[in-house]
């Protein structure tokens, strides 16, 4: 599956009427339109209140096509969620993989995550808040995503400071997610990038101690 950023999901449109495009491309377009629609509708109405009819209307896709692609509303939502998380992970991974000192890389990875959530408040709300309404499967989804971010940070820790706690990277992921979740619930996703200096501090304290983390906080604030 190709990874599509939330922006891509939104832009994907087919020309109206008879277009003579190959069927495969039409199906792919329909799928992406439905995925983009479920994100927007669910973020606006909430998962419970969202109906398949809402998604169809938003996507401009027929009911029959929907059921060829997805089992139900939940299936469609989980598919969209997987794409969004994969996309976020790709952005964070790319920032963390840039050459440079570890403190800069982890700050930039944090910045990439904050920017991602700020860029599309609907996607942010969908990914973090509405997921819980899907039922127990959301817990497994959350856990899998959490685990992959911890793994991602662990992989790049080779040239980083030796943390004084066995699971400092787990603490780092928890700081980011906890703060982002709170801001998204309160409808303040757009302001997330401004939290970079404070969160840089919170993230780095377990690795560097308070004084060195304060220095990095000031550096992040200075840009």
């Amino acid at each position: 599956m190709s990874s599509s950023s939330p922006e891509d999901l939104r832009k994907w449109r087919l020309p109206r009427g008879r277009h003579g495009l190959p069927r495969e491309l039409v199906t792919r377009s329909q799928r992406e339109r439905l995925l983009a629609a479920v994100v927007r509708v669910t973020a606006a109405k909430g998962y419970e209140a969202t109906t398949v009819a809402d998604i169809l209307e938003e996507a401009g896709v027929g009911r029959e096509s929907f059921y060829e692609l997805f089992d139900d509303k939940r299936d469609c939502m989980l598919a969209a969620h997987a794409i969004l998380v994969e996309n976020l992970e790709g952005k964070v991974r790319a920032a963390y993989a840039e050459p440079g000192p570890w403190v800069d890389r982890i700050r930039d990875a944090l910045g990439a995550a904050l920017d991602w959530f700020a860029a599309d408040p609907a996607a942010a709300r969908f990914t973090l808040v509405e997921l819980a309404a899907v039922g127990p499967v959301s817990r497994a989804r959350f856990q899998a995503a959490f685990g992959s971010f911890v793994e991602l940070l662990d992989e790049g820790l080779d040239d980083g400071p030796g943390p004084e706690l066995p699971r400092a990277t787990t603490l780092a992921v928890s700081a980011t997610l906890a703060r982002v979740y709170e801001e998204v619930v309160l409808g303040r996703s757009a302001d997330l990038p401004s939290l970079l200096p404070d969160l840089t501090y919170e993230l780095l304290v377990p690795f560097l101690g308070e004084e060195a983390a304060r220095t990095e906080q000031r550096r992040a604030a200075a840009g």
Partner: protein, 219 residues
């Protein structure tokens, strides 16, 4: 409250036990299928009571959920209170209280799920309510010892982080591994009030007292 003459005591006990059963049923159903999917039918079925009895005790599902959260919090507070003694210096008291609470949550995964997961997703106001309850209680320990306030890490964020870590373990079905999180949770509980160095020290002490996290053990 109850008069010696009035036969109110047995009725009270009956009410208390019904209330208890309703709360237990709510905890179990939320763990099994989430709060959103839980119906009054699930609760009355689990509690073995009639629908009428349910509505005598609670206005609706949300009212019952709030009472359930309160009941769990009370249990958590009791576990924290009995885990430390008044003579403990603040960092030790916080560590011991944290160990006590985490042990309780590890022994009751459904309750841990409710407090760390459901309470967050149902309404952020629920979390705000117990954050306001717990953080000043911790802060009070340092105030009582006359320690100067310094700005370290954010206590509200630390609380949310601890909650998230617990939720993550429960989501993975690893409630038995919850105690392996002791160093991190103790760190988060101490750091906002006493700073990184003291928090690391307490986390190490907690690590020593933590049981072996490997799944093998007593059957």
């Amino acid at each position: 409250m109850s008069s010696v003459l009035a036969p109110s005591t047995p009725i009270d006990i009956g009410e208390q036990s019904q209330r208890r059963r309703i709360i237990e049923a709510m905890i179990e159903s939320c763990a099994e299928k989430t709060y959103a999917a839980t119906t009054i039918t699930d609760i009355v079925g689990g509690a073995r009571i009639s629908r009428t009895t349910f509505y005598k005790r609670f206005a609706d599902k949300r009212d019952c959920f709030d009472a359930t959260v309160d009941s769990c919090l009370l249990e958590l507070q009791e576990a924290a209170a009995t885990a430390h003694s008044p003579g403990d210096p603040p960092p030790d008291a916080v560590r011991k209280a944290t160990v006590g609470m985490l042990e309780l949550l590890a022994s009751k995964p459904a309750m841990a799920q409710l407090l760390s997961g459901e309470a967050v997703s149902v309404d952020p106001a629920v979390v705000e309510r117990y954050r306001r309850l717990l953080i000043p209680a911790l802060e009070g320990l340092w105030d009582a010892a006359g320690e100067p306030k310094t700005s370290h890490v954010d206590p509200g964020l630390s609380f949310a982080r601890a909650q998230l870590l617990i939720f993550n373990e429960i989501a993975a079905g690893r409630s038995d591994a919850l105690l392996a999180l002791l160093p991190e949770i103790v760190y988060l509980a101490v750091a906002p009030f006493a700073g990184h160095d003291e928090a690391i020290q307490q986390a190490r002490l907690a690590e020593q007292s933590a049981p072996d996290a490997s799944p093998s053990g007593v059957e």
